[in-house]
């Protein structure tokens, strides 16, 4: 049979949602509160984030979270009544997500 291609986007969406729920709050607390409050030294955090493995994990996180966003964004717009624009909306959403991922790659792996 011909498969719907939804499983591909849905699995990226699910993985992104799961990781976002687990890791984003930690990152927000670290970079948004702990660091400005001088609870840990900036250089210490910088050391951690210069580790190649950590950067790779952050890159994967950025990629999957963008994929999560794209899927949710396009489904929300389509469900709100823009069904006839499904294809352009999908293309646009994933172009933005890939651009975001490329930007993350530039920052993290560059």
């Amino acid at each position: 049979m011909r498969y719907s291609n939804e499983p591909l986007f849905w699995s990226l969406f699910s993985a992104g949602g799961m990781l976002a729920a687990l890791l984003l709050p930690v990152l927000i607390v670290l970079t948004g509160f702990v660091l400005p409050a001088d609870e840990i030294a900036f250089s210490h955090l910088q050391d951690i984030f210069s580790n190649a493995l950590i950067r790779l994990v952050l890159f994967a996180l950025a990629f999957l979270v963008f994929m999560h966003w794209a899927n949710r964004f396009r489904h929300t717009l389509v469900d709100m009544g823009l069904k006839s624009l499904h294809t352009p909306i999908s293309v646009l959403s994933y172009v933005v997500a890939i651009a975001g991922t490329a930007w993350a790659a530039l920052v993290l792996l560059g």
Partner: protein, 247 residues
């Protein structure tokens, strides 16, 4: 306790009414009456032309589903006392064409229901009565039992925002029933159901709102069934990409 309570009923007889209207009726208030009792009272004593479906009066037949104050309910399980002081607005199930008053057209649902072949399919040839019954362990039964409790009341369709907008969506109860048979150790019909279940208008139309499971009077959890099927479909999809995948 009040002596009476007001019911605002959706009325529409296509042969007589140009458009639907609401009509208010006073009915006696009784502590132990459900909305269906009030409707039966009105039909017997006030207006015999009032039309609605019901049968068992005990949450088993699934035919008395209506919108009660905007929420899909089995009217035989919706107590008047929970809607005090009233009025109680009763309408046909949302998302379905209306045939007459509270009676909706079931054709779409029935067609979808049969499209997933909700019965045990055996592909093994030449089985006779003599080969005996198919035995099942308690664990094998538990895998699908919850999904087999469905009474086809369609409350989940009336609650589903996707179905309200996309008529072609196969919908919660039917997908849960497909899952019920797919998970049954006696069944061999998965491959005949996939084309409907795994399609864009099957499980992939679902955005996991979860209202189906919230309104289900039988705790079937169609939303959970659909999520399970999404995982199975994803595994099947990934396998199909492998050169040595079996589909």
């Amino acid at each position: 306790m009040p002596d009476t309570i007001t019911l605002e009923l959706f009325r529409y007889h296509p042969d007589r009414d140009e458009r639907p209207r609401f009509q208010a009726y006073e009915v006696p208030f009784r502590e132990d009456w459900v909305v269906l009792d009030a409707l039966n009272y009105l039909k017997d004593r006030v207006d015999g032309s009032l039309t609605y479906r019901w049968s068992c009066r005990m949450g088993v037949c699934g035919s008395c589903g209506m919108m009660v104050n905007g929420y899909p309910k089995l009217t035989c399980a919706a107590f008047l006392r929970d809607y005090l002081p009233g009025p109680i607005r009763v309408e046909p199930l949302s998302g379905f064409p209306v045939e007459r008053d509270m009676v909706v057209v079931l054709d779409d649902f029935m067609q979808k229901l049969s499209s997933v072949k909700p019965w045990i399919i055996r592909e093994t040839a030449a089985e006779t009565m003599a080969s005996g019954e198919y035995r099942q362990t308690p664990a094998q039964l538990a895998a699908f039992k919850q999904y087999s409790m469905c009474i086809n009341c369609m409350l989940c369709y009336a609650a589903c925002p996707v179905y309200q907008h996309e008529e072609q969506f196969v919908g919660p109860a039917v997908l849960a029933l497909a899952q019920r048979y797919n998970l049954d150790s006696r069944d061999q019909g998965n491959s005949q159901r996939y084309p409907v279940v795994w399609a864009d208008d099957g499980i992939w139309d679902c955005t996991f709102v979860g209202e189906c499971s919230a309104v289900c009077p039988k705790h079937v959890d169609p939303a959970g069934a659909i999520q399970q099927a999404k995982i199975q479909s994803t595994v099947g999809f990934m396998r199909s990409l492998l050169p040595f995948g079996n589909r």
